[in-house]
């Protein structure tokens, strides 16, 4: 029987958190049209006190932002964090997007010692491990823009 659909090469580890269908990877946030609050993920609502909570729209954050803080984790995170191999030491960054929200995630950078607050970073995908169907299971991550 002929295959009618090609299997996707990359699948997200959890759905509805980031979009990598286009040319660039974008984190999926949401914005309240009434109080202006951006929140992430889009299904964990946050509002200003007294807000009518009307007019919440999904928003794809810009592909790049500024490193607001970072750390280097020297010990491997326990499950349910799952990666193909031990990736420690690994970087974690808090990135400030121009929309007015900061989002945390892994930093994929070969020279972690060169990280600096204020650096421009872009959102990418990172393959945590390969599943039984041979697909890369991905999360969002950040990389310094050269």
């Amino acid at each position: 029987m002929e295959k009618t659909q090609t299997q996707k090469a990359r699948v997200p580890a959890l759905p509805d958190l980031f979009d990598f269908s286009g040319d660039s990877v974008r984190i999926r946030s949401a914005r309240c049209g009434s109080c202006g609050t951006y929140f992430f993920p889009e299904y964990h609502a946050q509002h200003r006190s007294g807000c009518s909570r009307e007019g919440v729209e999904p928003v794809l954050l810009s592909n790049s932002g500024k490193l607001a803080s970072y750390t280097i984790e020297h010990y491997m995170c326990p499950p349910p964090f799952k990666t193909a191999e031990n990736i420690s030491p690994y970087g974690i960054g808090l990135v400030e997007f121009p929309e007015g929200i900061q989002v945390a995630g892994l930093i994929m950078e070969s020279d972690l010692d060169a990280l600096q607050i204020g650096q421009e970073v872009e959102t990418i995908t990172y393959a945590l491990y390969r599943n039984e169907e041979g697909q890369d299971v991905v999360t969002w991550a950040f990389r310094v823009l050269k």
Partner: protein
Amino acid sequence: MREISIVGVGLHPWGKFKDKTFIEIGTVAIANALKDAGVEWKDVQAIFSGIYIYGGNAGHISGQYLESVFGETGIPVVNVYNACATGSAALRMAYNSIAAGEVDTALAVGVDISPEGFLSAKSDNPRQDRDVLRWRMAGMPNPVYWALECRKRMARYGTSDEDLARVKVVLSQYGAKNPNARYKKTYTLEEVMNSLMVCDPLRLLEVCATSDGAAAVILSASPGAVKKADRPVKIAATTMGSALYGDPTLRISALSAPAAAEAPLLSESYSASRQAYKKAGIGPEDIDVLELPDNSSWHYLQYLETCGFCGEGEAEKMLRDGQTQIGGRLAVCPSGGFSSFGEAIGAQAIWQVVEASNQLRGRCGERQVPDAKVAMAQTYGLMGNSGTTILKV
């Protein structure tokens, strides 16, 4: 308002007790508190108990299990969970029950035996528990959150590696003299600065461990019980706070924070402490002893500002000048802090109150703060959740 006093306190020492049950160590703490107060079990009219989340059904009704050990008497037994501020919630409810005139004497108790290995996600549903996201998508154990805030502080105020290490040096001196502490070794600056880097810029000796322990406090407004007590301590305020909208803290479990701050960092602790100052009718300048939640060296510094003991960026100077030590302007964590005890989620807030009250009762021997009259215990719990207790003699 009735005057409410702590008439007895009890602990089970902090450590790792994997062969004991929460009921066994909770029983020790309660028995010690009863003995200290000289109160009979039959005179305890209400129990407010911290929920022990790793104890299954029993842990969720911990108060009933503990009551049955001493003998069921039909009194109200309420179990409460507010993460690391669980004990603050139990204490506050005990206080309010007495203040409302429902009862004259109540017990607040908190117990914890942490599971083996790392703490991790407790559910697998990210849509209702965002804790799942930080573990699965970003590999972020708790110290990552502390390190991210610490790095920001270092960039903003010039906090040095030496400042972070000095916190451990100071606290280890106290822990060494506290019989109930888990860690009793003292450290030099060099030893701390050469300890393993865990979560850059925080080293192994600059973050707290998870421990087991139990703490109990007996509160009373009964003139007989207060008269009988050995140096009773007045509760001037016991408050709780939640976060304020626009708080820039990246809170544990969360993966996002607002870019523009509209509220103070650690706003839940700001809220709880300001409520307490108002209720007690005093300010930070009146406090002699402060037990703060030193989950990491960053917390130690940040909490001095959050609770108003100094201005922004001034905590390092207080530390360097010795103002936060016994004999300085404000004795910070003369118990040895979480640094010497480790966290025991359900128990630690009550433990802090036990330590603070012991200082006011002049019971601390070599680490006694001279002439201590007012003490404050400050907690920090998950998801914008904090308690403050101010005690006076």
